[in-house]
């Protein structure tokens, strides 16, 4: 045990003097994550809020044939832009394709007559479905034109002495059950991704340096000739890797705890709880993930023949724990006891819960900790076996 600690302490000291370790463990993960995150967050928030009730101007070709429609749109914050110089659908198509316009409304010159004769008047919307940035504005224009159409229909039915509800057999009531915390957690769900990434980055260099790097520096042979079992040596090294991963995680959480209050979450009417207690709880939830990641990276590094080879493999390996997160966000899974058996996914779900200010279930937490540590133990065993091979000397 004292030998494991000796190795661990030495690797911590040794790597504290290595610029690459310090860069990846204390700067790259902890700072880059929160900065990137705050940036993305603010961009998506400003998009979401700006689209909701902001005044927009849309070119309306043939506005002169549909004065009432234009007035109706204007009352809903959609103004007819002036001087767009568009005169036909072809020109409108070109303008939208070029990106000069996001959406163009085209009113037929027979609009007034068709409306009066109740023949069905045509309004054409020209837009680009693949342009996701304009999606909300197009939706607003389409919704408003639809609302105008319904208003006229209602008036016509009333004029004929009919109850408008005759043609509306179904009434859809939208009832959004998401709480403010839940809405913000959609975006904050990305947080776990950055936390896991920073944790792995913190140990990436150590996992390589203490194994493949040691062999390349030729210090492995004298080390193996000391009266310390190889399992103690590799366990000490994994311990040091874990320590740096936890350092990186702690710094990242601290950065997030500082950065999140500055994010404009209130603009969305959302609240989010990321106080020091949440950060500390998140640290404890992610704690078992560090030895797992250390064992995973050390196993891979022990398997390779050189520092470079180890680095290139590990570039892929650190993506593996993020795969369950991507799947989870696509499938929008809810926490369940079975999913807690998947390391990285379980931490993701638990931390998302934490951010939603929902209570953590003890059973889920227990399964998450147990399975993560178990897989970590299996991988550590694999690392011990690989380190025990004669071929480790190269």
């Amino acid at each position: 045990m004292s030998a494991i600690l000796t190795v661990c302490r030495k690797e911590i000291l040794d790597n504290s003097r290595d610029r690459r370790t310090l860069l990846t463990a204390t700067l790259l993960g902890p700072l880059l994550g929160p900065i990137f995150f705050v940036f993305i967050f603010n961009v998506s928030i400003s998009r979401a809020t700006s689209s909701a009730d902001e005044q927009i101007d849309v070119p309306i070709i043939g506005a002169e044939y549909a004065g009432n429609l234009v007035a109706f749109l204007a009352s809903r914050g959609i103004g007819a832009s002036e001087g767009h110089g568009l005169g036909s659908i072809d020109e409108a198509v070109r303008a939208v394709r070029n990106g000069d316009q996001e959406v163009v409304v085209f009113v037929d010159d027979s609009f007034g007559e068709d409306l009066a004769s109740e023949a069905g008047a045509h309004v054409t919307l020209v837009y680009d479905e693949s342009d996701t940035a304009s999606g909300r504005r197009v939706g607003r224009v389409r919704g408003s034109v639809g609302a105008y159409s319904q208003q006229i229909g209602t008036l016509r039915l009333l004029a004929r002495g009919l109850d408008p509800s005759v043609v509306r057999p179904l009434i859809i009531d939208n009832f959004d059950v998401s709480t403010a915390e839940e809405r913000s957690s959609l975006i904050l769900g990305m947080l776990t991704y950055f936390l896991l990434f920073a944790t792995l980055m913190g140990g990436l260099h150590l996992a390589t340096d203490t194994t493949a790097g040691e062999r390349e520096r030729k210090s492995l042979e004298p080390l193996l000739a000391t009266p310390v079992s190889r399992s103690s040596l590799i366990l000490g090294k994994m311990g040091a890797t874990t320590a740096y991963m936890l350092l990186s995680l702690a710094l990242t959480l601290a950065c997030f705890a500082i950065a999140i209050p500055y994010m404009s979450i209130d603009d969305l009417g959302m609240s989010t709880s990321f106080d020091p207690v949440t950060a500390l709880t998140a640290f404890l939830v992610l704690l078992p993930f560090a030895p797992l990641g250390a064992a995973l990276m050390t196993t891979v590094a022990c398997f390779t023949k050189s520092y470079k080879e180890a680095q290139s493999y590990l570039g892929f390996v650190i993506l593996v724990p993020t795969l369950p997160l991507i799947l989870a966000s696509i499938l929008n899974v809810r926490p369940s006891l079975a999913l807690m058996a998947v390391p990285s996914l379980s931490q993701h779900l638990l931390i998302t819960n934490l951010i939603r200010a929902e209570p953590l279930e003890a059973s889920m937490l227990a399964v998450s900790v147990a399975t993560t540590l178990l897989l970590g133990l299996l991988l550590a065993y694999a690392a011990v076996r690989l380190y025990g091979r004669e071929r480790i000397l190269g």
């Binding site: 190795v7 520096r217 030729k218 210090s219 042979e221 004298p222 000739a225 000391t226 079992s229 000397l393």
Partner: protein
Amino acid sequence: MIEVNSLSKVFGDVPALSDVSFRARDGVITGLLGPNGAGKSTCLRILSSVLRPSHGTASVGGIDVSGDPLAVRRIIGTLPHGAGLYPHLTAVENIRYFGLLCGVDRATLSKRIDRLVQRLDLGDVADRKAGGFSQGERTKVALARALVHEPPHLLLDEPTNGLDVMAVRQLRKWLQELARDGHCILISSHVMQEISALADDLVIIAHGRVAAKGTPEELADRFGNWDLEEIFVSAVGGEPS
């Protein structure tokens, strides 16, 4: 005392050592001499229990290297090819790490390191990081590291590699002192001059086999030549045509 009996080592299909037997006595320097790739390093690695023998046995201080490798490692000091120091650690930190791994307690360790630093004349570099050391400084620190737990046996793999004449002479002096103190020293080399000035016993290996062994005098008698280089060339089977 180091004893090697019919030792063989095969890497995959490639034999590195075949049926090698020799003895290294306490209090003398035994030279393991051979051309590059003869199997010297493999032999030393088996003795330091880093590699396992394929056949045959080897023992250090009466302990079988396969039977109880940890016990063997407690009584050997190794200086492998290329020293292998940690560049971010200072000379003293490098030495202390190995002392701790060998189970030397901290109080004793500090005293020993002070003594070694003095004896190996490492005062100037003791607290500098090893990354900037010259080859000579590296070898000295590596030697101090090998001696820190006061092992009775020393396994040195080409220790004079890259050293200048003065450093070689100094190293030779230390090794002779250590031998006088009763250490069993096994030193590998492909440089004849160095071995002739150092070794009391010689083991010449070539192609993984022992080609000749004995004191320099015995070998000279057998090969009818006092020049070690000539003995070496005859022993390994003549010059390549």
